[in-house]
Protein backbone atom coordinates (compact mmCIF):
# COMPACT_ATOMS: atom_id res chain seq x y z
CA UNK A 1 0.00 0.00 0.00
CA UNK A 2 2.91 2.35 0.42
CA UNK A 3 5.93 3.09 -1.67
CA UNK A 4 8.67 5.60 -2.17
CA UNK A 5 9.11 8.13 -4.91
CA UNK A 6 12.34 8.36 -6.87
CA UNK A 7 13.53 11.19 -4.63
CA UNK A 8 13.04 9.02 -1.55
CA UNK A 9 10.07 10.92 -0.14
CA UNK A 10 7.26 8.77 1.18
CA UNK A 11 3.77 8.90 -0.22
CA UNK A 12 0.48 7.41 0.82
CA UNK A 13 -1.98 5.30 -1.12
CA UNK A 14 -5.68 5.02 -0.47
CA UNK A 15 -8.36 2.55 -1.42
CA UNK A 16 -11.93 3.70 -1.00
CA UNK A 17 -15.25 2.35 -2.17
CA UNK A 18 -18.67 1.60 -0.80
CA UNK A 19 -17.21 -1.19 1.35
CA UNK A 20 -14.84 1.09 3.17
CA UNK A 21 -11.74 3.24 3.23
CA UNK A 22 -8.14 2.12 3.67
CA UNK A 23 -5.02 4.24 3.71
CA UNK A 24 -1.36 3.77 4.64
CA UNK A 25 0.73 6.86 5.29
CA UNK A 26 3.83 8.04 7.18
CA UNK A 27 3.48 9.56 10.67
CA UNK A 28 4.56 13.07 9.67
CA UNK A 29 2.36 16.08 10.52
CA UNK A 30 1.86 16.91 6.85
CA UNK A 31 0.88 13.32 5.93
CA UNK A 32 -1.43 13.17 8.94
CA UNK A 33 -3.13 16.38 7.81
CA UNK A 34 -3.52 15.12 4.24
CA UNK A 35 -4.95 11.82 5.48
CA UNK A 36 -7.47 13.55 7.75
CA UNK A 37 -8.65 15.69 4.86
CA UNK A 38 -8.97 12.58 2.70
CA UNK A 39 -10.89 10.70 5.41
CA UNK A 40 -13.24 13.63 5.86
CA UNK A 41 -13.96 13.86 2.14
CA UNK A 42 -14.75 10.14 2.13
CA UNK A 43 -17.02 10.29 5.17
CA UNK A 44 -19.00 13.24 3.84
CA UNK A 45 -20.15 11.03 0.97
CA UNK A 46 -21.72 8.47 3.31
CA UNK A 47 -22.50 10.31 6.56
CA UNK A 48 -25.03 13.15 6.62
CA UNK A 49 -24.11 14.49 10.07
CA UNK A 50 -21.31 17.07 10.06
CA UNK A 51 -21.08 16.54 13.81
CA UNK A 52 -20.23 12.85 13.38
CA UNK A 53 -17.76 13.53 10.58
CA UNK A 54 -16.14 16.17 12.77
CA UNK A 55 -15.90 13.81 15.73
CA UNK A 56 -14.22 11.11 13.66
CA UNK A 57 -11.73 13.68 12.37
CA UNK A 58 -10.89 14.86 15.90
CA UNK A 59 -10.43 11.31 17.24
CA UNK A 60 -8.27 10.20 14.32
CA UNK A 61 -6.18 13.38 14.53
CA UNK A 62 -5.41 12.68 18.17
CA UNK A 63 -4.65 9.00 17.57
CA UNK A 64 -2.38 9.84 14.62
CA UNK A 65 -0.62 12.68 16.49
CA UNK A 66 -0.07 10.41 19.48
CA UNK A 67 1.53 7.77 17.28
CA UNK A 68 3.65 10.36 15.47
CA UNK A 69 4.83 12.08 18.64
CA UNK A 70 5.11 9.18 21.09
CA UNK A 71 4.82 5.87 19.22
CA UNK A 72 7.83 6.19 16.94
CA UNK A 73 11.30 7.50 17.63
CA UNK A 74 11.28 8.84 14.09
CA UNK A 75 8.81 8.48 11.23
CA UNK A 76 6.86 5.22 11.00
CA UNK A 77 3.87 3.80 9.18
CA UNK A 78 0.23 4.27 10.15
CA UNK A 79 -2.75 2.50 8.59
CA UNK A 80 -6.37 3.52 8.96
CA UNK A 81 -9.52 1.65 7.97
CA UNK A 82 -13.06 3.01 8.08
CA UNK A 83 -16.43 1.55 7.28
CA UNK A 84 -19.79 3.32 7.40
CA UNK A 85 -22.85 1.47 8.61
CA UNK A 86 -26.42 2.40 9.40
CA UNK A 87 -25.55 2.33 13.10
CA UNK A 88 -22.41 4.41 12.78
CA UNK A 89 -18.79 4.58 11.68
CA UNK A 90 -16.22 1.94 12.66
CA UNK A 91 -12.55 2.93 12.54
CA UNK A 92 -9.37 0.91 13.05
CA UNK A 93 -5.86 2.37 13.33
CA UNK A 94 -2.67 0.27 13.07
CA UNK A 95 0.90 1.21 13.86
CA UNK A 96 4.18 -0.50 14.69
CA UNK A 97 5.34 1.91 17.37
CA UNK A 98 5.68 1.74 21.13
CA UNK A 99 2.93 0.25 23.27
CA UNK A 100 0.25 2.71 24.37
CA UNK A 101 0.51 3.35 28.14
CA UNK A 102 -1.93 1.37 30.26
CA UNK A 103 -5.10 3.26 31.05
CA UNK A 104 -4.77 5.69 28.16
CA UNK A 105 -8.06 4.58 26.67
CA UNK A 106 -9.97 4.03 29.90
CA UNK A 107 -9.10 6.89 32.22
CA UNK A 108 -11.64 9.35 33.53
CA UNK A 109 -13.74 10.79 30.75
CA UNK A 110 -13.90 14.52 31.28
CA UNK A 111 -11.03 16.94 31.29
CA UNK A 112 -10.37 17.89 34.91
CA UNK A 113 -11.18 21.36 36.11
CA UNK A 114 -7.99 23.33 35.84
CA UNK A 115 -7.76 26.73 37.41
CA UNK A 116 -5.99 29.04 37.78
CA UNK A 117 -5.05 29.66 34.19
CA UNK A 118 -1.32 29.79 34.86
CA UNK A 119 -1.51 26.15 36.00
CA UNK A 120 -3.10 24.96 32.75
CA UNK A 121 -1.24 22.28 30.81
CA UNK A 122 -0.28 23.01 27.22
CA UNK A 123 -0.50 19.38 26.13
CA UNK A 124 -2.26 16.17 27.10
CA UNK A 125 -5.62 17.23 25.68
CA UNK A 126 -5.69 14.53 23.02
CA UNK A 127 -6.50 11.58 25.26
CA UNK A 128 -9.47 13.40 26.76
CA UNK A 129 -10.83 14.19 23.32
CA UNK A 130 -10.54 10.55 22.23
CA UNK A 131 -12.24 9.20 25.35
CA UNK A 132 -14.97 11.83 25.25
CA UNK A 133 -15.94 11.23 21.61
CA UNK A 134 -15.20 7.58 20.81
CA UNK A 135 -17.39 4.64 21.83
CA UNK A 136 -16.40 1.00 22.30
CA UNK A 137 -12.69 1.75 22.18
CA UNK A 138 -10.65 -1.46 21.95
CA UNK A 139 -6.87 -1.58 22.06
CA UNK A 140 -4.60 -4.56 21.37
CA UNK A 141 -0.84 -4.75 21.28
CA UNK A 142 0.32 -7.70 19.18
CA UNK A 143 3.66 -8.83 17.82
CA UNK A 144 2.73 -6.94 14.67
CA UNK A 145 2.00 -3.69 16.46
CA UNK A 146 -0.81 -1.66 17.97
CA UNK A 147 -4.44 -1.91 16.91
CA UNK A 148 -7.06 0.58 18.08
CA UNK A 149 -10.68 0.20 17.07
CA UNK A 150 -13.51 2.56 17.97
CA UNK A 151 -17.02 3.40 16.91
CA UNK A 152 -18.99 6.59 16.44
CA UNK A 153 -22.71 5.79 16.59
CA UNK A 154 -25.09 7.74 14.39
CA UNK A 155 -27.55 7.78 17.26
CA UNK A 156 -26.55 8.37 20.87
Amino acid sequence: MRGDLMDGSAYALSVENTDGYLRDFPSTPDAIRTTLQSVTRYLKRYVDSADIVGSVEIILAELFNNIGQHGYNSVGDISVQLSCHEEGVICTVFDHGETVPAGFFCSELAFPSVVPAEALPVDGFGGYLIRALARRIRYRHTVEGNVVTFEIPTTQ
Partner: protein
Protein backbone atom coordinates in the same frame (compact mmCIF):
# COMPACT_ATOMS: atom_id res chain seq x y z
CA UNK B 1 1.49 31.41 8.28
CA UNK B 2 -1.62 33.33 7.42
CA UNK B 3 -2.22 35.79 10.27
CA UNK B 4 -3.48 39.33 10.11
CA UNK B 5 -3.29 41.67 13.09
CA UNK B 6 -4.94 45.05 13.45
CA UNK B 7 -5.97 47.40 16.21
CA UNK B 8 -9.74 47.93 16.46
CA UNK B 9 -11.15 50.06 19.27
CA UNK B 10 -7.86 49.74 21.19
CA UNK B 11 -8.07 45.96 20.91
CA UNK B 12 -5.49 43.85 19.09
CA UNK B 13 -7.44 41.59 16.75
CA UNK B 14 -5.56 38.64 15.31
CA UNK B 15 -7.40 37.03 12.42
CA UNK B 16 -6.23 33.46 11.91
CA UNK B 17 -6.36 32.84 8.18
CA UNK B 18 -5.34 29.19 8.39
CA UNK B 19 -7.98 26.59 7.62
CA UNK B 20 -6.48 24.21 10.19
CA UNK B 21 -4.64 24.82 13.47
CA UNK B 22 -2.95 21.46 13.83
CA UNK B 23 0.41 19.82 14.47
CA UNK B 24 1.56 20.69 10.94
CA UNK B 25 1.48 24.44 11.60
CA UNK B 26 1.54 24.84 15.36
CA UNK B 27 5.21 25.82 15.72
CA UNK B 28 4.95 28.47 13.00
CA UNK B 29 1.67 29.66 14.49
CA UNK B 30 3.14 30.21 17.94
CA UNK B 31 6.20 31.98 16.52
CA UNK B 32 4.10 34.26 14.33
CA UNK B 33 1.75 35.15 17.18
CA UNK B 34 4.65 35.82 19.52
CA UNK B 35 5.99 38.51 17.19
CA UNK B 36 2.60 40.22 17.39
CA UNK B 37 1.93 39.85 21.11
CA UNK B 38 5.41 40.37 22.55
CA UNK B 39 5.15 43.09 25.18
CA UNK B 40 1.60 43.95 24.15
CA UNK B 41 -0.79 45.21 26.81
CA UNK B 42 -4.57 45.48 26.85
CA UNK B 43 -6.89 43.02 25.17
CA UNK B 44 -6.27 40.51 22.38
CA UNK B 45 -9.00 38.79 20.39
CA UNK B 46 -8.29 35.79 18.17
CA UNK B 47 -10.78 35.68 15.30
CA UNK B 48 -11.03 31.96 14.53
CA UNK B 49 -13.77 32.31 11.91
CA UNK B 50 -11.64 30.84 9.13
CA UNK B 51 -10.45 27.86 11.18
CA UNK B 52 -12.43 24.70 10.45
CA UNK B 53 -10.28 22.27 12.44
CA UNK B 54 -8.43 22.52 15.74
CA UNK B 55 -6.54 19.59 17.23
CA UNK B 56 -4.92 19.26 20.64
CA UNK B 57 -1.68 20.73 19.28
CA UNK B 58 -3.48 23.87 18.16
CA UNK B 59 -5.38 24.03 21.43
CA UNK B 60 -2.15 23.68 23.37
CA UNK B 61 -0.71 26.53 21.31
CA UNK B 62 -3.61 28.81 22.27
CA UNK B 63 -3.09 27.95 25.95
CA UNK B 64 0.66 28.49 25.68
CA UNK B 65 0.10 31.87 24.02
CA UNK B 66 -2.29 32.91 26.79
CA UNK B 67 0.22 31.88 29.46
CA UNK B 68 2.99 33.83 27.70
CA UNK B 69 1.09 37.13 27.79
CA UNK B 70 1.70 39.85 30.34
CA UNK B 71 -0.39 39.38 33.50
CA UNK B 72 -2.86 42.17 32.75
CA UNK B 73 -3.49 41.10 29.14
CA UNK B 74 -6.86 39.53 28.40
CA UNK B 75 -7.09 37.01 25.57
CA UNK B 76 -10.50 36.18 24.09
CA UNK B 77 -11.62 33.95 21.23
CA UNK B 78 -14.22 34.80 18.60
CA UNK B 79 -16.20 32.99 15.92
CA UNK B 80 -15.22 29.36 16.49
CA UNK B 81 -16.77 27.03 13.95
CA UNK B 82 -18.72 24.02 15.28
CA UNK B 83 -15.89 21.48 15.29
CA UNK B 84 -13.54 24.01 16.91
CA UNK B 85 -16.15 24.91 19.52
CA UNK B 86 -16.57 21.19 20.24
CA UNK B 87 -12.86 20.80 21.07
CA UNK B 88 -12.96 23.88 23.29
CA UNK B 89 -16.02 22.58 25.16
CA UNK B 90 -14.82 18.99 25.63
CA UNK B 91 -11.57 20.18 27.17
CA UNK B 92 -13.40 22.82 29.23
CA UNK B 93 -11.37 25.55 27.63
CA UNK B 94 -14.67 27.37 27.16
CA UNK B 95 -14.40 28.07 30.88
CA UNK B 96 -10.85 29.38 30.53
CA UNK B 97 -11.31 31.63 27.50
CA UNK B 98 -14.20 33.97 26.98
CA UNK B 99 -15.63 32.90 23.63
CA UNK B 100 -17.83 35.11 21.47
CA UNK B 101 -20.03 34.04 18.58
CA UNK B 102 -18.38 36.53 16.24
CA UNK B 103 -15.88 39.36 16.20
CA UNK B 104 -18.53 42.06 16.38
CA UNK B 105 -19.87 40.61 19.63
CA UNK B 106 -16.37 40.40 21.04
CA UNK B 107 -15.61 44.02 20.19
CA UNK B 108 -18.99 45.21 21.49
CA UNK B 109 -18.34 43.46 24.79
CA UNK B 110 -15.09 45.37 25.19
CA UNK B 111 -16.76 48.67 24.42
CA UNK B 112 -19.44 48.04 27.03
CA UNK B 113 -16.71 47.25 29.55
CA UNK B 114 -14.92 50.47 28.67
CA UNK B 115 -18.12 52.48 28.96
Amino acid sequence: MNLHAEILHDVCVIRVGEDRLDAAVVVRFKEAVRTITLGRQGRIIFDLGAVTFLDSSGLGALVAIMKSLLPDVRMDLAAPQPNVAKVLALTRMDTVFVIFADLSAALAHGQRDAG
